[in-house]
Point group: C2
Chain length 141, copies 2
Amino acid sequence: MAIITRETDYALRALTGLALADDFLPVSTLAEQEEVPPDFLRKIMQRLHQAGIVESSQGPFGGYRLARSARRLSVLDVVETVQGPLVMSECISRPEICGRIDYCPFRRRLSALGAGLNAKLAKVRISDAANEIQSAREAAK
Amino acid sequence: MAIITRETDYALRALTGLALADDFLPVSTLAEQEEVPPDFLRKIMQRLHQAGIVESSQGPFGGYRLARSARRLSVLDVVETVQGPLVMSECISRPEICGRIDYCPFRRRLSALGAGLNAKLAKVRISDAANEIQSAREAAK
DNA sequence: GGGTATGAGACTGATATACTCCTATTATTG
DNA sequence: CAATAATAGGAGTATATCAGTCTCATACCC
């Protein structure tokens, strides 16, 4: 099973693209650059907009741009916006479905692993990805 | 999103139950003890059997028992048997769906996080859970 | 052979994934 | 200042996965 869905993958690509552009970029351009189905990306960008991650401008020369610095935007932010909270097991986020919460021998252990993963995802920033692409481009010159 | 499905959760419960019983246990008993829908658990046990995690015996006084020591059975084993390989992103396991593999700035980072999570899940053993239950029972006496 | 257990697999409802299509808004242009 | 073209916004759809149920066959013990 994949922890990160394709939707999140596309969102990460698009946000990296926006980080490099540093200006309003239309979905059509972004979709072509990042090899994402444009109509699908449009929907994803809307979610990111609702979450306050990107700003939008309609009409000609409009599009999306980052609402905050790429350094302050983590993979975890994107995962949580697109997929919802990332948890090891449903029983951790929704105790009511279990009823064994008091004595479940896995709960504490798995919960800790989930927290660890979240912390690591929070440390991977969009700027890291953008910088890597930037360096590769300069090296190619 | 939950990384571990309910099916895996049920499998972990059942295997912990078997570790404590240390004998053939029918699905009906196991299902009642662990609060799992019996027909569903039957199907799950079959998967665990096909994977060689449990042994089966048909007929009266039959049921399932662990095929190996609970100390040598990890949560990762169970996750992989029930859900398939656990990977951060689909593009890591199936490069052909991406086409950006050479320069994707997230691939290496996410792949490392996935490997780390797998390693940690491999260190949580069914015996850990069984021992905890055992201790709690003795303390309650 | 009767009763108890697993083995194999078809079937189903609900939810999530992955994507498409149509509509509303905005900015420039004549 | 209306027409138009470029954009975002949001509804809708097909397929897969999840979470289970049900049925029938097979094996085993007494």
